[in-house]
Subunit: 339 residues, 2 copies
């Protein structure tokens, strides 16, 4: 727990080379900020750890501004309002939208979304109901467009995005095949998520096993990992296949990017490959949250969380998600969740 009156933040100390390690970060303490006009101060309860965060640690800018040395790490949170200078918020409100690996945040009220208490567990708003869930929703409905009778494949199938993507494709009537790391994850993907099959990417015979799981080829693919998994999937794509490029976590720690696939097949098979980022589609977040809350309440949308306690363990959590150590949506519990 933080001392009363003090805020704890995780800041970037030096840029990681390859795999990030705890010593690339440090804890900084300062006074809990006050709310300026229109601002809201929140106490962080849950912090989300996601693969995209590795990109923020690179010197060069990707689609978002890089974190500078000495800056607080970015990250989605669920928090409780402790002070408000914005008419829409009062202390005790639960909100998403504050960003940062820190015990307290100060945020313009317009960037926060109030959560209806009791509709779902608070942590779900960072995973199945949050950015990862909305990412799955956008990629599946706008790019993959799975149809009955088709085969849909998703990598990192037990993760926050993959688990939702596969369930959505299943609802669309497709044969759904997951790819995940390890027998325990594959078992859960089939038993709890209801995928038709799941292939272990650590298998020595990934290509043959994937082919066996997809006897009619692959009509759409939700890409989260890249590398050898991507190569195996691309070889099985059917004519007119759609590939939603969401991420390539297998290479986020690489200093220099390995070559990729020869794109000749894209012409011959008339494949569509499209990169997307859900933050380009803010309306999808709201739409998805409204759609998915009842599915969480009635149990028809399954999800799994992997919880790590303590803000100081956030750097180690990031290291873990990049190597697939987590099993389910990875969260840091920054303070006790009393619902």
């Amino acid at each position: 727990m933080s001392n009363a009156g003090l805020r704890r933040s995780v800041v970037l100390k030096k840029r990681p080379h390859g795999e990030p390690v705890a010593s690339d970060f440090e804890i900084r303490e300062d006074a809990i900020p006050e709310a300026g006009p229109g601002e809201v101060v929140t106490r962080t309860i849950w912090l989300s750890i996601d693969p995209y965060m590795r990109g923020r640690l690179r010197e060069e800018q990707t689609y978002a501004v890089a974190i500078q040395i000495g800056e607080v790490m970015t990250g989605e949170t669920v928090g409780e309002v402790v002070a408000s200078a914005h008419p829409d918020f009062v202390p005790g409100d639960i909100v998403v939208g504050a960003r940062g690996w820190q015990s307290h945040s100060v945020t313009p009220g317009g960037q926060l979304v109030k959560i209806t208490k009791g509709a779902a567990p608070l942590s779900a708003y960072l995973g199945v109901l949050g950015m990862p869930g909305a990412t799955a929703y956008a990629g599946v409905t706008e790019i993959c467009k799975p149809k009955a009778g088709e085969t849909f494949v998703v990598a990192a199938a037990s993760g926050a995005v993959g688990s939702v993507a596969g369930q959505l494709a299943k609802r669309a009537g497709a044969r759904v095949v997951g790819i995940a790391g390890g027998a325990d994850k594959c078992l859960w993907v089939q038993d709890s998520l209801g995928f038709d099959d799941c292939v272990d990417h650590r298998s020595l015979d990934l290509r043959r096993e994937l082919q066996a799981a997809c006897p009619n080829g692959i009509d759409s693919y939700f890409e989260n990992v890249g590398g050898a998994v991507q190569a195996a999937v691309f070889d099985l794509l059917n004519p007119f296949a759609r590939v939603a490029m969401c991420g390539m976590v297998s290479q986020y720690n690489e200093q220099t990017m390995p070559p990729g696939p020869n794109l000749g097949f894209v012409v011959g098979k008339r494949v569509l490959i499209q990169g997307f980022i859900v933050s380009d589609r803010p309306a999808r977040m709201t739409e998805w949250r409204a759609m998915a809350e009842p599915l969480i309440a009635d149990g028809s949308l399954a999800y799994r969380e992997d919880v790590i306690d303590g803000l100081e363990n956030a750097p180690d959590a990031l290291t873990g998600i990049l190597s697939g150590r987590n099993f389910g949506k990875l969260l840091v519990r920054v303070a006790a969740d009393h619902g």
Copy 2:
């Protein structure tokens, strides 16, 4: 000229390894066929030579069936009807739709399209008004979607497809940059096609020259070549860029495909890459022909042809188009064109 009563055909003798050579083919003579019920016999005037033909010579099937040893090579033609058992055609009609490297073809009438004599030179129906023109039209309007203020780049810019693609993007208001092989082609692309700039892909400093020609990056790319040109273009793509994958002629003679680009940029830049083949869109052919005929008549759509005389020279013409030896739409004049 063929002997009266005899048909000459170019058939595949053995599969080429790497660059096709004349000895991979042979001339076969047989009787000029007669028209069965619903069929039409045509005398070939023009034969189109296109890069895709190399794919037909591979053992493995791509999007179309491979040519077998002893089979007549496939190819679009313009011909004159010499005998008809179909009510819509009479001797003397000029038609497109018969396929084959041969002096005479027999074709179901339903596969033939009659040309209005005098609307445009007959050879134009194999290039700017034919499959290559319609390919450019489909890729530009359905995938690249260039807009005013954007930068559009097309490879093989002086070719049958690229020359039309760039002119269409110019009409849409984009800055249009071509990539072509050699100073003479680049000059023509700028002077006669009206592109804003053209970069010689043989330049030792392709990347820097392309960057100089595209100071605001690249918003859409029409891909015909692959390889080093593709790599240079991909590095300059802007966020939300569109790539129409039409072909990759630089690698058609390769026995094993070289690796391609790491696709990480597709996510970060939200790039769309889409392969397409115009024969999937037959309506586009008709639509384009009707749109483009008046543009040819009034001279507002420029094109260039590279004519080789004699059916027996078709194999050498194919070798040439794969190495960029042609300058403009490559055609074989199989028989005299009297308009």
